[in-house]
Amino acid sequence: MNAVIHCENLVKTYDGKPPVEAVRGLNLAVLEGECFGLLGPNGAGKTTTIEIIEGLLAPTSGEVAVLGRHWGRGEDDDTIRQRIGISLQETKLSDKLTVRETIRLFRSFYRNGLEPEEALRRVALTEKGDSWVVKLSGGQRQRLAVACALVGDPHLLLLDEPTTGLDPQSRRQLWDIIRDIRTQGRTVLLTTHYMDEAERLCDRVAIVDHGQVIALGSPAELIARLGGEHMIEFTLKDNGAFDPATLNDLPSVQSAQKESGQYRLAVRELHVALPALLGRLQQTGQALSGLVTRHVSLEDVFVALTGRHLRDEESPKS
């Protein structure tokens, strides 16, 4: 399969005191027809990376090829622009234009593309066609932004945090739209710091931290790397202190960790591990104050890889 996007050793350093190294040697290959997610916490370098791919930022060093072409090489720029559709993290489209007028404006920049009505239909904004942008809800605005990205009928869609700040219903609506785009054979690259979004939408995910890809694979693969599909989390009365490592020998337990009073076991088979755990706690005279089990998520992958949570603003060193 062809790589639609190819990044090699991408570096972007912003001038400043001290200089900010937003991207430090990032490698990436996005394949034709897949939905690829860049997952990472705020400040991981996702937006910088996607803006370099979009040709809006120049990398400090490294190679970028988009649809087999390179930014800044003569005719290539226009060729790429004609064939990609983007939505930035924040764009305030003109308040006093109607939805239809906005789409028409964006349509006019492309040689080929969708009828504005078709673009509106795909993002379910047909009924809002004559409304001013200022009257739209957050979710509707985001769908309009996606429609602006779609209207040139692009081969490649680049969406920077398409659902950030939206209510659950609007997010689900956007997921449907993105899935729809993907089933039409288009390639999608999106950034997100929601792991559930990445799990549900993306064929493959690159987990980005400190400007580098630290893990790459399908969500299922990444989760499988933890060795267990389930997670048991429990807390003990009196903040009972005993070494989580002593739990490693329980049947079906893949790993055991303790973080701020909470024990966390990654297990393969819940029905084997749970009775064993309860037995062990009883033996050692520990009393539970809470216990939950759940499926392993990309969040757990991220925590396992970095010792931090995805949405920690200030990353505490583990």
Partner: protein
């Protein structure tokens, strides 16, 4: 790949047309902007027109020193209704004179020699006017129509009044304001909203974008000028002596020059504060120097060549030459050259320096 959608023929969508339409729509859907562009200049003309139209004959205060002849002198001087005569004792007269409350002081003298002492200040225009009016009344009290050497005609016809002088100046001023604000503000606003960046991520041609901003500015300008000229024609009878074609050409050239400057001002600015500051920096000197409200010839001679190089000076001079004197454009190559130079020069620099993201 998908069912009914067929690629639309490319020619149905003109980006330039869509960009201009978008600007026009954004503008007329914003009532405040419409007021500032169209309403405000009219209010200004009305205010100034009222201030200067039915202005009573100017009153010139002259003091007379109290004494036996005071009443007689007062009656004599009051034959000229421009003089406002007040009688005070000597000390009061002198203190009022020193503080500029009166333009001249008449002190009747007794004994041989001159009959009056007249205090005046040769460096003050009003004082000189007072002096000559007082002299006229005191020395030739009985000038009759037959014995007069000069026949006086009062001139109040359209074309030579203050309002006639003012309208071309205000027209130039509003072309300047409209160009700078209309172009500069819009661009900085789009930059702040990241709309500029979003547009740049499309295949949009940068030149077409800038051309659309300029074209839409020229579109806004047409009603602005028509309203202003129509209004002053109806209310004050301000007429255009020269060719209408010449006037239209000048208005477009002026609008183009200031739109170019607006573009230049906005080419790097990242905040509203910085663009407002820059605009005031550019407009304020021209408001004062370029002869909007009064002739710039009053500034020192050494400054005049520089003042004439300012775009607003060139525009105002050219507008007045066409509107008031009926001169053809061929008589003002230099002014046209200055305006074109500003427009083209700033457009080129703006293109080079423009910060797209």
């Amino acid at each position: 790949m998908n069912e009914q959608q067929q690629p639309a023929p490319a020619r149905r969508y003109s980006p330039l047309r869509e960009l201009v339409l978008a600007r026009l729509r954004e503008f007329y859907r914003e009532p405040e902007a419409v007021f500032w562009v169209y309403g405000f200049p009219i209010l200004m003309v009305v205010a100034l027109g009222i201030a200067f139209r039915n202005k009573p004959v100017e009153q010139i205060p002259v003091d007379v020193q109290d004494g036996s002849q005071a009443v007689e002198v007062k009656q004599l001087l009051e034959k000229d209704n421009r003089l406002l005569i007040r009688v005070h004792d000597e000390a009061t007269c002198l203190s009022r004179w020193k503080s500029g409350k009166t333009d001249a002081v008449v002190m009747p003298l007794s004994g041989p020699g001159p009959r009056y002492r007249l205090l005046h200040d040769p460096t003050r225009l009003e004082s000189q006017l007072a002096r000559s009016l007082v002299n006229e009344q005191l020395t030739h009290p009985a000038t009759s129509a037959e014995s007069a050497l000069v026949r006086e005609d009062e001139l109040q016809e359209p074309g030579s009044r203050y309002i006639d002088y003012l309208v071309p100046g205000l027209l130039g001023m509003s072309l300047m304001g409209g160009g700078l604000w209309g172009v500069g503000f819009v661009i900085v606003d789009m930059r702040i909203r990241k709309l500029l960046k979003r547009l740049l991520a499309t295949p949009m041609k940068r030149g077409e974008f800038l051309a659309a901003i300029m074209i839409s500015r020229l579109c806004f300008m047409v009603p602005e000028v028509l309203i202003m000229l129509g209004f002053t024609w109806l209310t004050f009878g301000v007429v255009i002596r020269g060719s209408l074609v010449a006037l239209v050409f000048l208005v477009f050239l002026g609008a183009f020059a200031f739109a170019g400057i607006g573009l230049l001002v906005a080419s790097r600015a990242k905040t509203m504060e910085s663009v407002s500051g820059l605009m005031n920096l550019i407009m304020l000197p021209m408001w004062m120097l370029s002869g909007i409200f009064f002739s710039y010839e009053r500034f020192p001679d050494v400054a005049l060549p520089f003042i004439r190089l300012l775009p607003l000076t060139a525009l105002n001079d050219a507008l007045r030459a066409v509107m008031l004197e009926g001169q053809p454009l061929t008589a003002q190559w230099l002014r046209l050259g200055i305006l074109t130079g500003w427009g083209v020069g700033s457009f080129v620099l703006a293109l080079r320096w423009f910060r797209w993201q």
